[in-house]
Symmetry: C2
Subunit: 284 residues, 2 copies
């Protein structure tokens, strides 16, 4: 595995690989890798000639009171994992090399960035789109791989790519879960033992909602209220930022009477001081 | 010359040219071509293997009360000119194919887009950056050519490209002028005979300012006031949006005491109901 830290070096390498006709896969991560990331790398290795993994905790997608400073980092452990997985290139830039002194340019996917997670994290997706666009330009991938745990991010990046005519396939990969159903996330590390037990309730509740919809229940409003109540009954769960039933293509909010073929149920839940997200897509 | 109207066709063509190792030049225009555009195409032909010219009057860079509807168009005349100049590919898309129904993504170069022309045209540069980024992704150029009459646009596009790590050289080409000094612009067509005579005062005033600075005058504030007064004395000139002395690299406003090696003098002037821009860069 080659490790690159300077943006210009990655771009020169990628452009030269493209000239050789190589098909490049990109897996952008913030590091502290788990099986979710590993599955993305596995997909990339299956579908491309060469896999570039990036590890960069991107400051512009964190709000002022968020966990940028304490976001878990373990580069040595990550590097060993990436070598084992057969990663070709690791890109781990410094923030100063990504955003210079005089940095001014941001990409915003309007409307889609203002709902769901965007409501409580107003600058988040602008930061995500900007860094992902930069990584696209640096790594020159044919396919970029994103996990569907961050479902809204996946939809927004697909939308950005389509809107800006970016010639890159955006591949969304399934959520990888712990045995008890908790979606894998680097942020799970923040949970105390007792919070970890409560956290499994998130997937359990999503699954209950999905089952009820499959059974034919169409009163989404009541289902939503009950699900929130179930979650908030847990002593470690203080707040549910949202618990939404939406169109998985365009994220439009569903009401009770509408009959969809596919429904996204997505939620953001505070377990102690940790904000976790999860979702299920049902095909009826 | 090949004429292409569908974005996907241009992108497929460009990607295949890139695979062949061709060096592509891009000249983005809004059509109604004049000698300014012709000089950009000439530069592209000198420096690349293949020149793509785009003609697209981009709706997202016009404000509600601006001249999108009446912007001059003459595609047949433009096509003949482009063939004469040896253009390889002309791209003339429909607006619906560039911005679909569900279009959401915009690029903004913050701060630089809020000054000078951005003050009176608040959404202008967001629209410019968005369309230029899209054209970059569609045409896959190695070099893109822009006229320095739109000096702020040139600086903003250079900034966008640097910030987003876009691997394209941004070439700024000199202003082409009429015999009496008026900068060539498709909007000059709007001027009545009497307004056309007044319009030459813009360059004359800029040149007077430049001469005075070269002679050693350093009181920029007084120079600015006098220049505006000179312009406004003309019966056809109703308003000067700005008359600024700035750093040509980062567009920061200069004050009288600062000693710069290079100074941009830029102005936007209303001649009748036509808003014209022009500038001079002085090297001391």
């Amino acid at each position: 595995m080659i490790t690159i830290t300077k943006p210009v070096d990655l771009q020169n390498k990628a452009l030269s690989l493209k000239r050789e006709g190589k098909k490049i896969g990109l897996v952008p991560t913030m590091g502290f890798l788990h099986e979710g990331h590993m599955s993305l790398i596995g997909e990339s290795k299956k579908k491309t000639d060469l896999t570039i993994v990036t590890i960069f905790v991107n400051p512009t997608q964190f709000g002022e009171n968020e966990d940028y400073g304490k976001y878990p980092r373990d580069l040595e452990r990550d590097k060993n994992l990436l070598v084992e997985l057969g990663t070709d290139i690791l890109f781990t830039p410094d923030s100063d090399d990504i955003y210079g002194d005089d940095y001014h340019t941001y990409i915003n996917v309007e409307e889609l960035s203002d709902i769901m997670c965007g409501k409580s994290r107003p600058i988040h997706f602008k930061g995500v789109c900007t860094i992902v666009n930069k990584l696209f330009n640096l790594a020159q991938p044919d396919i970029a791989f994103f996990g569907k745990k961050d479902y809204q991010q996946y939809v927004i990046i697909k939308r950005m790519s389509k809107d800006l005519n970016i010639p890159i396939d955006i591949a969304g990969c399934p959520i990888i879960r712990e045995k008890d159903g908790l979606a894998m996330s680097s942020r799970n590390k923040y949970l105390s033992d007792s919070e970890r037990k409560s956290a499994k309730l998130i997937y359990k509740t999503l699954k209950d909602s999905a089952d009820k919809i499959k059974e034919g229940i169409s009163d989404i409003e009541t289902l939503c209220k009950k699900s929130k109540k179930t979650l908030l009954k847990d002593e470690n769960i203080g707040k549910v930022d949202y618990y939404d039933f939406r169109d998985p293509e365009n994220l439009s909010l569903l009401n009770g009477t509408r009959k969809q073929k596919e429904i996204l149920i997505a939620t953001a839940v505070w377990v102690g001081s940790t904000r976790l997200i999860d979702n299920i897509v049902i095909r009826l």
